[in-house]
């Protein structure tokens, strides 16, 4: 099993979710996040003072998927979140040792 983590633009989040649900992903964890990459934020003027907004709002999506589905899920997320402009975000994959469904006690792929 793998943990797929994606950080995407907030306005692309609905597209990502729709695409993942269509593919059959049963659940995910979503957090509002802020950060920066090459986008590096932007300059704003507020009450006469100019300053850099270095942390940009993002949505962080975490999904645990079976090994066979990893490539598909990553591709789906990337396609749905892409605008081609700077700041589209990242997707990364990490190995997962074990998963337990708390309600039933099921383990491994059965718990996904």
């Amino acid at each position: 099993m793998k943990l797929v983590t994606a950080v995407v633009k907030p306005h692309k989040w609905d597209d990502v979710r729709d695409a993942l649900e269509t593919f059959g992903v049963a659940g995910m964890t979503v957090t509002e996040a802020s950060g920066y990459g090459r986008q590096k934020g932007h300059t704003e003027v507020y009450r006469g003072a100019e300053y850099d907004v270095t942390l940009v709002p993002k949505i962080r999506v975490e999904i645990v998927v079976d090994d066979d589905d990893v490539a598909d899920v990553v591709g789906i997320v990337a396609k749905a979140a892409q605008t081609g402009k700077i700041g589209d975000g990242k997707v990364w994959v990490q190995p997962v040792d074990s998963v337990l469904r708390i309600r039933t006690g099921e383990q491994g792929a059965a718990a996904l």
Binding site: V45, Y46, R47, G48, A49, Y51, V53, S98, L100, Q107
Partner: protein
């Protein structure tokens, strides 16, 4: 005093009282979330402290009968000898002015003033500065006839209907002194320190605007045409000031902000305060739009000059109050240059602004320095970083997460058995999945 007049003054008194909680919201929303409670407490503590002082000796020092044009007397300590609707309603009305003036100063010291230091400052400054200055501006002498026993500013012919000098220049100058003594907040200039709750700021500005009708129209001390004039001009100037401030933001920054709308309203209210009974409605519009634009530019000064006037007390109250007072030299229907008057009024207005501003600034500077050297005025760096609310009041303004602050009462310490934690033996048996 006719009953109708008493009724209007008492209603106005209640309106002005509401301005201080309004100010607490206005300022509280502008701070960061970690210091909203301390900011609001500075207003609420002032409400309590000054009310007590007023009854004990404040009214007497400000308005007790005396031959002096600078100060009252000790004749009315403990409200001794004050009887009847006329004097009691005046005493109550003036108390609300004495409360909001020091409360206004608190915006300059957001996030970093020890609460005890603030309380001592309020008591000392109100006693040494506000009470005498209230005499200068608001003591109209016996039966309002002016004369040698009236305050020197009002007796000299300076026009300050509701306290442009006594309230706004006074508070603004003290605010500058406190900002200088306490120094800049950690991260000033580096961190944006944007307001954490703009709806609170707008609600507070709305309450201030509402209460200000009592402040300005109530200062007629009668339910008459003068009160109605002040009322109309207050609305006209404030509305124009909102527009003036927002136009500056639109042109300079590209976007009009809610903070600008709220600040513009206050700037207009401040500027029309001395002028509300002395200008035409068109004069009020002009005064307002200029005040909004000037204050919008003035709040940027702190970045250039390097003082941390956190919530722009100087930029709005000192600048707005001075502008409104001095503009009367041109716009007053009674002696203004645009209405056929000479420069005499203009000169007197400027002298009054300078006198009140200098007296307040110097005294506040000395008091703040003394407090800092004795009991300490500036919060520890660590407490300031973590947030003054927790450090000084053991509270936080918002507890929005399910996990709360993570605390537990001692009585509710968790029982491992009830919580289902496996015993050592069970763990050895490997019943817990890896």
């Amino acid at each position: 005093m006719r009953h109708a007049d008493t009724a209007w003054v008492l209603v106005s008194t209640a309106l002005v009282m509401l301005m201080t909680p309004g100010l607490a919201l206005f300022y509280g929303g502008m701070t960061r979330a970690k210091s909203v409670l301390n900011m609001m407490m500075m207003s609420f503590s002032t409400l309590a402290l000054v009310s007590v002082l007023w009854v004990l000796y404040g009214y007497s020092i400000a308005f007790g009968e005396s031959d002096s044009q600078l100060i009252g007397s000790l004749d009315n300590l403990g409200f001794h000898g004050l009887n009847g609707a006329s004097v009691l309603s005046f005493a109550a009305f003036q108390l609300m002015f004495a409360i909001i003036t020091p409360a206004l100063i608190s915006g300059a010291v957001a996030d970093r003033a020890k609460f005890l230091g603030w309380c001592v400052f309020v008591v000392a400054w109100t006693t040494l500065v506000y009470f005498p200055v209230a005499n200068w501006v608001f003591d109209f002498g016996v039966d309002g006839a002016l004369g040698d026993d009236a305050g020197w500013i009002v007796e000299w012919g300076v026009q300050d209907f509701a306290g442009g000098t006594a309230v706004h220049v006074n508070a603004g100058a003290a605010a500058l002194a406190l900002a200088l003594v306490l120094g800049r907040r950690i991260g000033w200039r580096r961190d944006p320190m944007r307001p954490h709750n703009l709806p609170l700021v707008l609600l507070g500005a709305g309450l201030l605007w509402f209460g200000w009708f009592g402040f300005n129209a109530g200062s007629a001390l009668a339910a008459d045409g003068l009160a109605a004039t002040a009322f109309v001009n207050t609305q006209a100037a404030t509305a124009a000031a909102v527009i003036g401030w927002l136009v500056v933001e639109q042109v300079r920054d590209g976007r009009p902000t809610t903070l600008g709308a709220a600040s513009g309203a206050v700037a207009g209210l401040v500027a029309i305060t001395p002028a509300c009974a002395f200008v035409s409605p068109l004069g009020a519009l002009l005064l307002g739009v200029l005040a909004g634009a000037i204050c919008a530019l003035a709040v940027g000064l702190k970045w250039r000059l390097g003082y941390d006037d956190s919530l722009d007390v100087v930029g709005v109250h000192l600048v707005g109050g001075a502008f409104g007072s001095i503009a009367l030299g041109f716009l007053s229907l009674d002696g203004g240059i645009l209405y056929g008057g000479s420069a005499v009024l203009l000169g007197k207005q400027a002298v009054a602004v300078l006198a009140v501003g200098t007296f307040s600034f110097v005294t506040a500077l000395v008091l703040a320095k003394l407090i800092d050297l004795t009991i300490g005025f500036r919060l520890d760096r660590e407490d300031e970083s973590a947030g003054i609310d927790l450090a000084e009041h053991a509270e936080s303004g918002y507890d929005l997460t399910i996990a709360g602050v993570g605390g537990r009462t001692q009585a509710a310490a968790p029982d491992p058995v009830a919580a289902g934690v496996p015993s050592e033996a069970q763990r050895d048996e490997g019943r817990v999945p890896a």
